[in-house]
C-alpha cells in the first residue's frame, strides 16, 4: 500500500489546527498573569498604565532601604537553605539510593515509598508537626534559618528522588560496578569514577529542582517564623506591592531558567558527536 493511500488513524493525535488552538489558549492562560504581574510591577503609583523604573530605583534609596532589608535577608537565607538542602540531598539521599541499587536491592521500594510520602502529606500538616521539634532544636542552635533545610529537605524528597531514580534506571548500575570491580577498582573508586559521573544528569536535575522548591517554600518558613524569600515577599507585599511583584516575576523567571537548565542537562551526552 502506498504511503499516500494509508488511512488516517482517527483520534491518534490531534490535527495541526487543533494543536495550534490548544497551544495558543494554554499559552495565553499561562502568559497573561505573568504579563499582568510585569505590567503592574513597572506601573507608576496610582495609575493603571504606563512604565516606570522608579520602584526599582527605590531599592537603592537609603531612606527607604529599611523596607527591603527583610527581603534581602530572606533571599540570603533562602540561598543558604537551598545550598544546605542540596548538600543534604547529595550526602544522604544519593548514597542511600546508590547503595540500595548496588547492595541492598530490597530497600529500593522502601526508599521510594519514604521519598514519595511527603507528596501525599499537606505541607501545613508537616509544618505543624515541625513546630515542637524546632522549638527544641532552636534551644540548642539558636534561631538560625539554615536549620530549616532539614525540614524543607523532607518536602524536597519527591522532587530530588525522581530524577536520580530515572537516571539510575537508565543505567545498568550493577553490571557497571561489577565491571569496574573486576578491573581492580574498590567500592569507593567504583562509585566515584564510574557510577557518579553517569548520574550527573540526575544529580543536576535534582539539585535544580531542590533550589526551585526551596525558593518557593512559604508554609514551613512561615509556621516556624523564619525569614525566607517567600515570607519576606509576603511582608513586602503590604509595604511596596510594586517591588514585591518585581521580585515575584524575577523568581518565576529564575525558576523557568532552572527548568530550561534541567532540560539541557537531560540532553547532555545525547548529542555527542563521533570524532572524525
Amino acid at each position: 500500500m502506498s504511503r499516500g493511500s494509508r488511512p488516517a488513524r482517527v483520534g491518534a493525535t490531534p490535527g495541526k489546527t487543533l494543536s495550534t488552538v490548544i497551544l495558543v489558549i494554554a499559552g495565553l492562560a499561562f502568559a497573561y498573569p505573568l504579563y499582568a504581574l510585569g505590567a503592574f510591577a513597572f506601573q507608576p503609583v496610582g495609575q493603571h498604565s504606563g512604565f516606570t523604573l522608579d520602584h526599582l530605583a527605590a531599592l537603592g534609596d537609603p531612606v527607604r532601604g529599611y523596607q527591603y532589608r527583610q527581603l534581602w535577608e530572606g533571599i540570603q537565607n533562602s540561598v543558604v537553605i537551598a545550598l544546605v538542602t542540596v548538600a543534604l540531598m547529595l550526602v544522604f539521599l544519593l548514597p542511600a539510593m546508590i547503595l540500595a541499587e548496588l547492595r541492598y536491592r530490597r530497600l529500593r521500594q522502601l526508599i521510594e515509598f519514604v521519598c514519595l510520602l511527603p507528596i501525599s502529606i499537606p505541607t501545613v500538616v508537616l509544618a505543624v508537626g515541625f513546630v515542637p521539634v524546632y522549638q527544641q532544636v532552636w534551644k540548642i542552635t539558636g534561631s538560625v534559618a539554615w536549620i530549616l533545610a532539614f525540614a524543607i529537605g523532607i518536602i524536597v524528597l519527591p522532587y530530588a528522588f525522581r530524577p536520580i531514580q530515572a537516571n539510575i534506571s537508565g543505567l545498568d548500575v550493577v553490571t557497571l560496578s561489577e565491571a569496574s570491580r573486576s578491573l581492580g577498582a574498590g567500592w569507593f573508586r567504583t562509585v566515584w569514577s564510574v557510577i557518579l559521573p553517569n548520574l550527573r544528569r540526575g544529580m543536576l536535575s535534582a539539585a535544580l529542582l531542590t533550589v526551585s522548591v526551596v525558593l518557593g517554600e512559604y508554609t514551613i518558613a512561615s509556621f516556624l517564623q523564619q525569614n525566607t524569600f517567600q515570607t519576606g515577599l509576603a511582608l513586602l507585599q503590604h509595604a511596596d506591592p510594586y517591588v514585591a511583584s518585581t521580585f515575584a516575576l524575577a523568581a518565576l523567571i529564575f525558576v523557568f531558567l532552572i527548568l530550561a537548565l534541567i532540560g539541557a542537562a537531560g540532553s547532555l551526552g545525547r548529542n555527542r558527536k563521533a570524532p572524525r
Binding site: 553490571t175 570491580r181 573486576s182 578491573l183 581492580g184 577498582a185 553517569n198 551526552g269
Partner: protein, 356 residues
C-alpha cells in the same frame, strides 16, 4: 596483582596461562542450592566452556571464580592459591559480561585504560597497552568514540580489550555473545578463540549455546542442577555422552524405545551397541539424527517435514507407532511430506536410560 604489569611498555602482549581449580564448591542462595559441590580443574591456557540450560548454575560458577559471589563452602584455587576470600578487585581476573558494560561517560580508550589506571600504571604505558589491546581487537581507529557510538559487536570487542589489557591471570566470559546477532556472534566467537590462543590465557566461557561451546572450547563442562554432569572435549561429549541429560542437551537426539539384552539394545528390531552398561529390560535409547539413514529395506516411516540446512538436510518422519524421528542426511535426498521411506540405524554405540 599480576607482575606482568611491570613488564616494559614495549613488551609483547603475552599472558602466562594459570591453572584454575574449583574443589567441592557449594553456593547457597536463600535456601536454594545453586552449586552443589562443583569440582572443576582448568589447565593453564585452556579454553573451557560451562554449558547448560538456564538455572543450571553455570553463571554462578563463573561469578564465584571471579569473586562477584562468595561461596558457601569449598575452595577456589587460581595459580594454586586459594582465592575464595579474596575480593573481586584483587583476584586479577578479566571479565566480559553479557550486557554491554562499557562505561558510558568514557571513550573507548579511557575504558580500556581503566584497569591500568586502577593499577597506577603510568601514562606512557597505559597509552601503549591500550593501543596494543585495541589493535588486537581491530578497533584502534575507534579509540575516541563513546560506547553509544559503537555497535553491539564493537562494544563487546572493546570489553574484551579492556578485560585483557591488564594481562589478567584468567579470562572469564559470561555469555558475551548472546546479545549479538547471529553473524556477528560467529565472527566474534572465532575472534575470541583466536585471541585466546595467541595470548595463551586460561579462559572460562559461559554459554547456553551448545554450538558455540563445541566450536571454540578445548573442553566443555555440561552443567545441570548446580553440578557438572560431564566434562570432556567437544568430541567426547557428542560421541560418548555419559548421561541421558548430556546426550539430550548436546546435539539433537531421538528418544526411542528399546530393550537391553547383554551389551546391545534392540531398537525396532535392530541391535545397537550400548555406551557404558545398562540393566536388561525396557529402556529409552538416544540416537543422533546423523546415525539414522534412509535405506531400501528397514523401518517404515512417513515424512512429516524436511528442512534444508545448507550443508545437510534434516527430515522429520513418523513411525507406525507415531514416534517422531529426526534424520540428518545429504542434501541430494529431497523427501517431501507424506513420502513413504525406510530407515536404518548406522549401528553407532548409543546411550540408554531405564524406562520408568
Amino acid at each position: 596483582m599480576t607482575d606482568a604489569i611491570d613488564t616494559p611498555p614495549t613488551g609483547p602482549l603475552v599472558i602466562k596461562g594459570t591453572p584454575v581449580q574449583l574443589i567441592d564448591v557449594v553456593k547457597d542462595f536463600a535456601g536454594h542450592r545453586a552449586l552443589g559441590g562443583v569440582d572443576l580443574s582448568v589447565n593453564p591456557g585452556e579454553f573451557v566452556s560451562l554449558l547448560g540450560p538456564s538455572g543450571c548454575g553455570k553463571t554462578t560458577a563463573l561469578r564465584v571464580i571471579s569473586g562477584l559471589e562468595t561461596i558457601s563452602s569449598g575452595r577456589i584455587l587460581i595459580d594454586e592459591k586459594d582465592v575464595a576470600h579474596v575480593p573481586v578487585n584483587r583476584r586479577d581476573i578479566g571479565m566480559v559480561f553479557q550486557s554491554y558494560s562499557l562505561f558510558p561517560h568514557m571513550t573507548v580508550r579511557q575504558n580500556v585504560e581503566f584497569g591500568l589506571r586502577m593499577r597506577h600504571v603510568d601514562r606512557a604505558r597505559r597509552v601503549f597497552r591500550a593501543d596494543e589491546a585495541l589493535d588486537m581487537v581491530g578497533l584502534s581507529e575507534l579509540a575516541g568514540r563513546y560506547a553509544h557510538q559503537l555497535s553491539g559487536g564493537q562494544q563487546q570487542r572493546v570489553a574484551l580489550a579492556r578485560a585483557l589489557v591488564t594481562r589478567p591471570r584468567v579470562l572469564l566470559l559470561d555469555e558475551p555473545l548472546s546479545a549479538l546477532d547471529a553473524k556477528v556472534r560467529v565472527t566474534l566467537r572465532d575472534e575470541i578463540r583466536r585471541i585466546q590462543r595467541e595470548l595463551g590465557i586460561t579462559t572460562i566461557f559461559v554459554t547456553h549455546d551448545q554450538e558455540e561451546a563445541l566450536a571454540v572450547s578445548d573442553r566443555v563442562a555440561v552443567m545441570s542442577d548446580g553440578n557438572i554432569e560431564q566434562i570432556g572435549t567437544p568430541e567426547e561429549l557428542y560421541l560418548n555422552p555419559k548421561s541421558a541429560f548430556v546426550a539430550d542437551f548436546v546435539g539433537i537426539s531421538n528418544k526411542l524405545p528399546g530393550t537391553v539384552s547383554g551389551t546391545v539394545v534392540n531398537v525396532y528390531g535392530q541391535h545397537l551397541p550400548i555406551l557404558g552398561t545398562a540393566q536388561p529390560g525396557e529402556v529409552t535409547v538416544y540416537v543422533r539424527p546423523e546415525d539414522i539413514t534412509f535405506a531400501t529395506e528397514g523401518l517404515p516411516a512417513t515424512v512429516v517435514s524436511s528442512s534444508f540446512l545448507g550443508s545437510l538436510r534434516r527430515t522429520y518422519v513418523t513411525l507406525a507407532d507415531g514416534t517422531l524421528v529426526a534424520v540428518q542426511h545429504d542434501v541430494i535426498d529431497q523427501p517431501v511430506r507424506d513420502d513413504e521411506v525406510r530407515l536404518r540405524f548406522k549401528g553407532r554405540p548409543t546411550i540408554v536410560t531405564a524406562r520408568g
